[in-house]
């Protein structure tokens, strides 16, 4: 996948498609026959009780799961029409296309500017191609996109780890944008934030809709309802229901979905 984000379109506007995806951690099977089509350019939320496989699913889309030597996968995942488990897939290129935001904000212990430029530099050895002025533009554009520019523009050289958690998480999203990913994976991006921070980050994620395909794992029903267009409910490693968010919350088709949404377990 060496094309730029804008030039790739998956078949029928599908960004992520899985075909009977099974995943094991050693002997433990975490995902069972996942068949999903995630539409391009919208926000899809993944909900379900702890341990249902949401994060595992998310982490197999950028293949970061494989770090753990004991993970085994059958079935396939296609991103924008390409099999990401095919031979010859370069992990670095894959992860350039698929950005990830973690539960705990994890900015690198370097300056705010260097955090935003990190991906640019590792994908363009030393950032030689991007000139100095160009780099300043990249930093400003990315930080503006996540609504962080105004509050940090005067301290771009301070360490990112000194920011508030809300700002750190925004920065973690901003640093993905300069390499023009097409898919953003977010693993409970607001769970470490206070309500105000959650609202601010959610609002910002909503602003990204359209330009990126966003898959967001959340424990927070209200968040899934407010901040996503489609919703996937998972239970015990299986997909129970995948519909428009509005439908799922108003009119769940499966009894288990209804129980979960109403808080009968979780």
């Amino acid at each position: 996948m060496s094309q730029t984000a804008s030039s790739i379109t998956g078949q029928d506007g599908i960004a992520v498609e899985t075909r009977s995806l099974n995943l094991w951690y050693g002997d433990f099977q975490a995902l069972f026959d996942i068949d999903l089509k995630v539409r391009q350019g919208i926000i899809t939320s993944l909900i379900g009780p702890s341990g249902c496989g949401k994060s595992t699913f998310l982490r197999s889309i950028n293949r970061i799961n494989e770090r753990l030597g004991y993970v085994r996968i059958t079935g396939g995942i296609h991103l924008l029409g390409h099999d990401i488990y095919a031979e010859g897939v370069n992990l670095s290129q894959l992860r350039k296309q698929v950005g990830m935001v973690f539960q705990r904000p994890n900015p690198l212990p370097i300056s705010i500017r260097d955090n935003v430029l990190f991906a640019v530099e590792i994908h363009d050895e030393g950032g030689k191609k991007a000139g100095r002025a160009n780099k300043e533009e990249i930093v400003e554009a990315a930080l503006r996109r996540v609504l962080l520019w105004d509050s940090v523009k005067d301290r771009l050289n301070t360490k990112a780890t000194t920011l508030s958690l809300e700002e750190q998480q925004k920065l973690c999203i901003a640093r993905l944008l300069p390499v023009k990913p097409s898919i953003l994976l977010m693993d409970e991006p607001c769970s470490a934030l206070d309500p105000k921070g959650t609202e601010a980050v959610e609002e910002m994620i909503w602003e990204l809709r359209g330009d990126y395909t966003i898959l967001i794992v959340t424990h927070n029903m209200a968040q899934a309802r407010r901040a996503s267009e489609e919703c996937i409910f998972m239970l015990m490693g299986k997909v129970v229901e995948h519909t428009a968010t509005a439908d799922m919350f108003v009119n769940p088709k499966d009894r288990r979905t209804a129980d979960y949404i109403e808080g009968r377990y979780g």
Binding site: I64, S92, R95, G99, F102, P109, I110, I122, T161, R175
Partner: protein, 289 residues
């Protein structure tokens, strides 16, 4: 109403007892160090002078200074460092950042721990067999330094590995998820944040290397040499061996001389340890997460 019950009084008595016991133990521990230092300063202090530091030993080592031994120790330690630091840091990087957690890796880790437990005289004999005879380096600075390097490698590896692993996993995950390779992650994030711990380990190694006697006495350190070494294939005098020699092997040595040598040796070690602590405090103050 809130006065002590009888069991409270009992508890407090026990509490005091333990507290005193631990305090006494700690003091007992410090006493030998203080006594050694005080003896060295009182008895060796008068021996110290510029001539003592920068003159050759004279009159069958009963007079004069320790300059060749001082220079020799610096040679030995420097060459040993040049070998053990790159080797040890590389091994630690592999074990911490690349190696999968399997039987092979665990075996290597176990071997390293065991290597740290090998007595230094055994290292010395290994050094004679391997470097002096097999590789044909003869008794030389090279053989002695290689022996010292082998002996201190476990310290470097363990210290480096621990400081690498103290860098939060979340940073590595962040890097990988952006498509960084292992090496890019190490160079840009892991190493810069582990460097203070690695340096501390290295300096500890230096101070240990400085004092070792057994590994060098068969491999490269000489009883007495009237000239300074000119390269790594020369023999050399060394402070630690010199101390052994003037204390036990040479007749009619004035009492202050061995104490003076010991004082210089221990001062070198203390200075290096303090430098290591200062460096660590400084580097820690730079990082925040």
């Amino acid at each position: 109403m809130f006065g002590p019950a009888e069991y409270n009084i009992r508890n407090e008595r026990t509490e005091r007892l333990w507290r005193i016991l631990f305090l006494v133990m700690t003091i007992l521990l410090i006493i030998p160090v203080l006594v050694i230092l005080a003896t060295l300063i009182v008895k060796g202090g008068p021996a110290l002078s510029w001539e003592f530091l920068f003159d050759d030993p004279k009159d069958g080592m009963t007079k004069g200074g320790i300059f060749p031994a001082l220079v020799g120790t610096i040679w030995l330690v420097t060459v040993a460092l040049l070998v053990s630091v790159p080797l040890g840091v590389a091994a630690a990087l592999y074990l911490s950042e690349y190696a999968p957690d399997n039987l092979f890796t665990r075996a290597i880790n176990l071997a390293i721990i065991n290597l740290a437990g090998v007595p230094s005289i055994v290292h010395a004999l290994f050094g004679v067999g391997a470097f002096v005879i097999f590789f044909g380096f003869g008794t030389s600075i090279l053989s002695a330094s290689l022996t010292l390097a082998i002996m201190t490698l476990p310290v470097v590896i363990v210290a480096t590995k621990e400081s690498l692993q103290a860098v939060p996993y979340a940073f590595r995950e962040a890097c990988w998820s952006m498509g960084a390779t292992r090496w890019q992650t190490i160079r840009r994030v892991v190493l810069p944040n582990a460097v203070s711990g690695i340096l501390t380990g290295i300096i500890l190694e230096v101070s240990r290397t400085t004092g070792e006697t057994a590994p060098i006495m068969f491999t490269g350190a000489a009883f007495f040499l009237p000239f300074l070494p000119e390269g790594i294939f020369d023999q050399t005098m060394a402070l630690s061996l010199h101390l052994f020699v003037v204390s036990t092997q040479v007749p009619n040595v004035p009492e202050h001389l061995p104490y003076g040598v010991a004082l210089v040796l221990i001062a070198m070690v203390l200075i290096m340890n303090s430098a290591s602590i200062a460096l660590r405090i400084y580097l820690r103050s730079l990082k925040k997460w």
